[in-house]
Symmetry: C2
Subunit: 219 residues, 2 copies
């Protein structure tokens, strides 16, 4: 059975967040083909109906092509659509966002990592996609364990404190943060493991759950 309607173009675009020099950054791609060839844009591409099980699968394929590995955290963001957002025709782009721990990035491979405060003008409606992704990240950072997925598997409480401040864009009291995060039961100390330096050694922690945990209240 076939439909009689002409169908729009179907694609995915990905917003890849990471932390570089204590700043929230995006990983961008230089477009290899027209339109906007040579410009910096969000990594994306058409849905391959022969190959992809669903659009999330398409997003994973795009990310693997760009980074060479799977993102530890990937979530659907929003779907952007319309007559004019792409010069090739009426299109639907299902946008995803992912969190990439800096420790996984080989920066010789992925050069185009730019602070979100300092992005160039992006083609298509990618500025809008980025704005929505940042808004979602900030909002979820307030009410969940989301920011922890920007850290490597093992981290200190100070690392976590810092990443919450960077994703939320606010200062958080150290003592209150520690009290509240420990009440959430999202992390556990690794017995006997500490990070050392020219100061008191810091207890190392890991996530207790692999999945995102929502909080009842703000952190």
């Amino acid at each position: 059975m076939e439909t009689t309607f002409p169908q729009p173009l179907a694609m995915v675009d990905t917003t890849l967040f990471t932390i570089l020099h204590e700043r929230l950054c995006l990983i961008l791609a230089r477009r290899k083909e027209p339109p906007e060839q040579g410009e910096l844009a969000l990594p994306g591409g058409f849905v391959h109906v022969q190959e992809d099980v669903d659009t999330e699968d398409a997003a994973r394929r795009v990310i693997r092509a760009k980074l060479g590995f799977d993102a530890p955290y990937l979530e659907q963001l929003y779907t952007f659509s319309g007559k004019d957002r792409d010069t090739r025709g009426w299109s639907i782009s299902v946008a995803y966002y992912a969190l990439i721990p800096a420790s996984l990035l080989d920066h010789s491979q992925v050069a185009e990592t730019l602070p979100v405060e300092d992005l160039p003008k992006l083609p298509f409606d990618h500025d809008q996609i980025v704005a929505k992704a940042i808004e979602r990240l900030r909002s979820k950072a307030t009410y969940s364990s989301l920011p922890a997925f920007l850290l490597p598997e093992i981290f200190t409480l100070n690392d976590l404190h810092g990443i919450y401040q960077q994703t939320q864009g606010t200062r958080l009291d150290k003592a209150s943060f520690r009290h509240k995060i420990m009440e959430q039961d999202i992390i556990e100390p690794i017995p006997g493991q500490f990070r050392t330096g020219a100061h008191r050694p810091a207890q190392l922690y890991r996530l207790t759950h692999r999945a995102l945990t929502p909080f009842e209240r703000k952190i």
Copy 2:
């Protein structure tokens, strides 16, 4: 310029919430064409690229066709996609949800209004769409003025109290609810207007803003 990729089918599906007999309900449609002809399902349809500006516009068209008027509150929910969700082929459905004040419904026109607790098995992945819509509604009801869009433009504080309880599925203390809702500045009394009955007359209110207002804390 054209793409070489075969494109998936593009459609929209809508979850229409309303309140009937103090219960949260969905407005369903009986399918006029195969597949699943004659079955109850979410109102939906293909994107019409000649006619629709974007998928939200397509959702509005679908709702107008079903109800005869525009929904006061409409928001994109999530995009469902994949090889197998529709027998007609690889498809993308951009799902929307809308809030419909019962006062706008002519129940002779729209017969298929069923409590969310008492829905039949729906075709395709519509059960999944409904589950996600209810989850979103409950979550937003806790942190915003969203439930007010299920009421007519003029209502009492008790009406609002009831609709918050129904959308959240919990009991809320009357006094605390009143204190908190008045702090949010989302409603204003209509001077000199009261609803009367066999009891003390109740002050009538209206929303101060036409748009949804998020709250800092839970209501």
